[in-house]
Amino acid sequence: MAKNDVKLLGAWPSPFVLRARVALNIKSVKYEFLEETMAPKSELLLQSNPVYKKIPVLIHGDKPICESQVIVQYIDEAWTSGPSILPSDPCDRAIHRFWAVYLDETWFPTMKGLLAVQGEERKPLMDQLSEGIVLLEEAFGKCSKGKAFFGGDGIGFLDIVFGCFLGWLRVSEKITGLKLLDEAKTPRLVKWAESFCADAAVKGIMPETNKLLEFARALAAKMREAPPKN
């Protein structure tokens, strides 16, 4: 294997894998995409991510890098020609990272929770997601400073972290009837979502919502059949 070969272990429905792909595209890095079936997990995956056994894993030469936010920052720092992904000012960087943590530790887990329950149980989770997206709308106002993206003129770290959830956001809207991106409540994010999905680094690789919806429904059916885990 050549010293600078780049491989990405991933799967098409994963928003976390999408992040790595967008970042690589922004930097115009050629890479080999290895689609993981996840059942069973490949030897390569188990070897290169023994801690979590999860995708995405970026393999640069012989070095594996795991965890999507770590991967995106690595891509930004390892390939310095091409646009920067993290903003240059430490304050702005901290703001991007703060919201990235919020999205991964608070907001998206709530969305996953929402997709796993039915009926009345959905309401409090829907409320939490709606409150959260209003916070993100405000954050967008502050970060973008009038420009198209959280990162300004071009896609930045927070755009990638949040934008890659858009497919699953749309799936949640379709399944639950909840409107998260709303012209009245989150006008800036509505526009931002369009810009993000239309960007050259994203366009060819963002999974179609209908395909994701089919996948989500199949997954939900499988989980209903499975014996309850302890």
Partner: protein
């Protein structure tokens, strides 16, 4: 403009202590504001409205929240005594393990020390099994860190770095939890490198000066979580 650095924290929290350790390492003067977490100040609520949690660093009026985000901010703002290496792969490594410690280790340690403590008599056997499972999980997690240390003095190499600071929960608080709950987790027999590292870590001046008093911490955790999961 004169530089103003505030840290909102709590004396016993490893997360707010991380921020102080990094600032001390870099020789940055700051003002510490002790928060009563049962009665949070209006300032804390203003500076961290989303989570209302400590620590928060306020630099010339601008707040930064989330301890690992704060550590990176500190390193990027004050360039002396860097806590992250220059090499992108080594940086990725430090970030990965810091996240691992926060995401997996702490909750596993808590579960081993205090989880499933209070059960009815008939639940005792189930609690024992759960406890053994929890201890085994902590052991597996600590093994990853033991392997990561290799022959280095610190996770950061020759000097204390971001990962060492993030590992303060392992280097100091873990010992406190062990004593407070009576559960043994970080044994010298199984984790010689990690034990050596912990001893070195707590001797570093910037770290030593920022460790809360051990007895006070033990008493606090015993009080809060009870006598713990030690086999009776």
């Amino acid at each position: 403009m004169a530089e103003e650095v505030l840290v909102f924290g709590a004396w016993g929290s490893p997360f707010s202590r991380r921020v102080e350790m990094a600032l001390k390492l870099k020789g940055i003067e700051y003002k510490f504001i002790e928060e009563d977490l049962t009665n949070k100040s209006p300032s804390l609520l203003k500076y961290n409205p989303v989570h209302k949690k400590i620590p928060v660093l306020v630099h010339n009026g601008k707040p930064v929240a989330e301890s690992l985000v704060i550590l990176e901010y500190i390193d990027e703002t004050w360039k002396d005594h860097p806590i992250l290496p220059k090499d992108p792969y080594e940086r990725a490594n430090a970030r990965f393990w810091a996240k691992f410690i926060d995401e997996k280790c702490l909750s596993a340690i808590f579960k081993a020390c205090w989880g499933a403590c209070w059960g009815e008599e008939k639940e005792h056997e189930k609690a024992e099994i759960e406890h053994e499972k929890a201890v085994k999980e902590v052991s597996e997690l600590l093994q990853f860190l033991e392997n990561e240390l290799k022959e280095k003095r610190y996770f950061g190499g020759e000097t204390v770095g971001l990962l060492d600071i993030a590992a303060n929960t392992i280097g100091y608080w873990l010992g406190v939890f062990e004593e407070a709950s009576g559960v043994e987790l970080l044994t010298r027999e199984k984790f010689p490198k990690l034990c050596n590292w912990a001893n070195e870590f707590v001797c570093v001046t910037a770290i030593k000066e920022n460790l809360p008093p051990r007895d006070k911490l033990i008493a606090y955790f015993r009080n809060r979580f009870g006598a713990g999961n030690a086999s009776k």
